[in-house]
Symmetry: C2
Subunit: 356 residues, 2 copies
């Protein structure tokens, strides 16, 4: 039996999108594929507010995140860390043999522009990484303010993970001046996993030319070269790309701004419900994610038990990630989740609690 | 309109397998996913004649091929090259910053055991790569004989691309002593692209522990660690894994040996037809692929024209790859292609030629 997913990826996928996964195969070096690729990337440019390049990688986003540091760090990288995925990015950077330092904020707290400025003004770095929306904590760092700081450092590559925010919250790639912006499609896009979407600025592509040991599978210059023919370096996951095309039509039909507003409204509703049940919110005011909300288990509730009972009733609920498991819980309200789906979830949780 | 594919990947996919791509989503850290993962890898072990580890990578095979050299070359690599994909593997090895030499055979010719022995006895190498079935030329190198040579060099990692042979021709991973054996599923497996399947020996995993800069996305030790929980390091392409499960049931129902025999029979049929039309075969006797056949354009036929006319009639035909384009042509007879599909293709080609 399929369960209703309220976790931050994989998420519920609309039936029309699932059906698009079953389209018969085509050759990936064909004119038909190039036309599909171009249609999809043209629509992605609207969602990402960019006139630059948008690439499709057959991988999860972390492959591209690793690729970004392999392509763009020539001197030393600073990884801003405030949760499980940003911490991991620092670890992965070092595992690539790249010199890197971490600047930490407490889990749940945002990365602030002054932290970025302080690190970069040391002159030690030629690249920085930041996670816009920490999926482990429900914290959204102020990307616009950070982008203002980054304008002072045009030679430092600005590499941003928008894994769980892209297409659920506004990220204007060109206005913000992002060098890399990456997401997996199984989050706010509402697709099955297996595909990552990313942008690379022309400035970053130029820099990559002089970075050694970029490898092949995540070599940004290979993506750029193949993009000229509306194609990918390696055989792409054609089924997911068909599905992405269908989902982008649905997204554009809803309206991009309307979609962001729906996510913001669902975030507001979830925060209110969590507070009304006597829990606190994990992220501070002003830095709370629009695509998922993390509650602090301030009442020491039995979250494992709740998760189990919800599962029996057909709902998948998340009782926190990594070192904050059971100390927090996460409710994802992204992609095709609607406010009424949240009403439904909240009622079921309340009925479980009423039984106790 | 969907066209019938006679190219060496992507290939025709059975409707039941396409339908499995549309199964509703599940969380990838759930018990349901672990059960799916275990079912699929258990069945893969039968197809690969291994009791060792089988990993699933959300990527094309080339990602894993890059990963293999990043994980397993500590000193110097020798890449055996006899076609576009083996040549590319050498290029990719160097692009990773790894010291490597190429040993070349002419395109279309096999890699022979004596070539392997000659290179390895220099003592310069701790890893070798070879492409079992060169998809660009239809040449199958004698893996069993090469494996005999490799028994003399137990400390040299034996890394094999079986991209277009795995599940279409017998590759006994354990008996051959392969350290890495990798394939993409859009070839002889008969699935949509987006997933690679690979084995890594325990000896290779042990070696990887002391290889620096393995990165993360293709770090074999990450795959091994997650395999303990029947899972993957990053979010897997769940839809493809569902489809692989369905296709493995179909493969096991046909019978593995029966499947290999069907591929051999189709290869024989295709060779006979090519010769009967006055063309030569590109690969020499004894080294011809069982999953795709390459003909030499010895009659200087208009292959571009043939490709175009076949396309108009709903068939996708390949007029050679890379530097041997139009000098050769390739007919893939792998996965779910049946002998009668080839009869159909041959009749259509003959009718096109009859028109001229």
């Amino acid at each position: 039996m399929a369960k209703k997913l309220f976790i931050p990826g994989p998420v519920e996928v609309h039936q029309d999108v699932l059906n698009a996964m079953s389209v018969p195969m085509m050759g990936h070096r064909s004119a038909d594929y190039a036309a599909l690729h171009q249609r999809v990337t043209d629509k992605l440019k609207k969602v990402l507010y960019t006139e630059g390049r948008v690439f499709l990688s057959t991988s999860s986003a972390f492959g591209v995140m690793e690729g970004a540091v392999r392509n763009l760090v020539q001197k030393r990288c600073v990884n801003f860390c405030n949760g499980a995925f940003s911490d991991k990015w620092h670890d992965v950077t070092k595992r690539c043999g790249i010199e890197a330092d971490a600047v930490h904020a407490e889990w749940g707290k945002p990365i602030l522009p002054e932290m970025v400025d302080e690190a970069l003004k040391t002159g030690k770095y030629d690249a920085m990484t930041i996670v816009h929306n920490e999926t482990s904590t429900g914290t959204m760092s102020p990307l616009e303010e950070i982008a203002e700081v980054m304008k002072e450092y045009p030679d430092i590559s600005f590499i941003v993970d928008t894994v769980s925010s892209m297409s659920g919250a506004k990220v204007e790639v060109d206005i913000l001046g992002l060098d890399v912006c990456v997401a997996s499609v199984q989050k706010a896009f509402g697709l099955p996993p297996g595909l990552a979407v990313f942008t690379v600025s022309e400035k970053a592509l130029e820099k990559a030319k002089s970075t050694p040991n970029r490898g092949y599978y995540f070599d940004f210059l290979e993506f750029a070269k193949n993009d000229e023919k509306h194609n990918t370096p390696s055989t792409p996951c054609i089924s997911q790309i068909h599905a992405l095309g269908v989902q982008l039509d649905r997204i554009l039909k809803e309206g991009i701004e309307e979609r962001f507003a729906r996510h913001a409204k669902m975030a507001e509703k979830t925060r209110e419900w969590i507070l009304s049940k006597g829990f606190e919110l994990f992220a501070p005011e002003g830095y709370r994610s629009n695509t998922l909300t993390s509650g602090k288990n301030s009442k020491d509730a039995d979250l494992e038990g709740l998760k189990k009972k919800l599962s029996e009733r057909g709902y998948v609920f998340d009782n926190g990630y990594g070192k904050i498991k059971n100390k927090t819980f996460r409710i994802a309200h992204m992609a095709d989740i609607m406010p009424e789906d949240l009403d439904d979830l909240f009622k079921v949780i309340e009925s479980i609690w009423a039984e106790n």
